[in-house]
Amino acid sequence: MNDKNDPDFEASLHEAMKKAGFIFPETEEDLDSVLAHMDKMRASGFPAELDDPEAILRNGRLTLNSPVDDGTDAEVEENLARAAREGGEINEEVSEQMKKDRKRADDEHNDRTAG
């Protein structure tokens, strides 16, 4: 098999993910494959809160409000440390972006504390 930078590898992985239903199907073949998987693995149960179509119409479009509370700046440091341990694989773009993000976060923090 070719190396991991092989663009065919990416396209193949993308195809496999669609056919397995890990991401949304885009072609009829993807859909056939997803439907076949669904026949084999039915979901355990259908939630009662989604079983009221009148309520769906009444409520209208919903917004996902709660962001995932699992990321901290410490993780950025951890990533930097990991990259350093593994041979400094942070490319310039990422490094530059991290600096900008950190500066922005500092500026926002300073604005808040000054205000």
Partner: protein
């Protein structure tokens, strides 16, 4: 004045899927339109739920995300039901497949809109963009579902698995088969969703892609 009672969903159980969508589109007759929506919901709720459950399976707010997408996709169906075109197909199984594909296409746009700060997907995406009839080319490597699932299991954090999965939802081939860069607004949306920053999102995508690729490279057998 005659009082029209709302039609019960089972009154429409004999209608074809296409006719249901037509009845649903007659918004002047609210009871009939709602009844058609109720019957449509009964017919497609399991497919839609299972599709979303699978794609959102590693999202830390899975339940809320699935519920949000499920509702929004059906609201879009209600709103744009008049745009469905079975393209001359009359076989009920084939029409059902077309509608399933339409639901999947709308689901994909709804999922993406969660990361792009769009109030709702563009009308043309919902109404007109259909599933590609057939894949243009066969992939070079045939990774099975179980192998891909195993590769993703190598990523220790559930949230990181979800970030990578989201990356692949947005994946597009660019020139010479190279992946296009993720748009900035998507990275911003992801950073907001996962309560972190863009640089960290980039790092996680790069790191987790490497884990998946290394697993697949080591285990792929021609």
């Amino acid at each position: 004045m005659e009082i029209v009672k709302p039609k019960e969903p089972d009154m429409l159980s004999a209608e074809t899927d296409e006719d249901l969508l037509v009845i649903m589109s007659i918004k002047d007759d609210t009871p009939a339109s709602h009844a058609a929506f109720n019957t449509f919901h009964a017919r497609y709720k399991l497919f839609l739920f299972e599709l979303l459950e699978r794609v959102c399976s590693s999202h830390p707010n899975k339940k809320e995300l699935v519920n949000t997408l499920f509702s929004n996709v059906l609201i879009s169906i209600y709103k744009y039901c008049h745009t469905f075109d079975a393209e001359g197909e009359t076989d009920p199984a084939q029409v059902r497949k077309k509608i399933s594909g339409w639901l999947a296409t709308i689901s994909r746009h709804e999922y993406k809109s969660q990361f792009t700060n769009a109030v709702e997907p563009k009308k043309e995406q919902l109404a007109y963009q259909r599933m590609i009839r057939s894949g243009t080319e066969k992939p070079k490597y045939d990774f099975g579902a179980a192998m891909v699932a195993k590769a993703f299991e190598q990523i220790p954090k559930e949230r990181d698995r979800d970030i990578l999965r989201t990356y692949w939802v947005f994946y597009e081939k660019g020139e010479k088969s190279q992946a296009k860069n993720m748009p900035d607004d998507v990275l911003n949306g992801m950073a907001e969703q996962y309560n972190t920053n863009k640089a960290n999102i980039r790092q996680i995508i790069s790191r987790t892609n490497k884990i998946v690729q290394e697993y697949l490279l080591a285990n792929y057998k021609i």
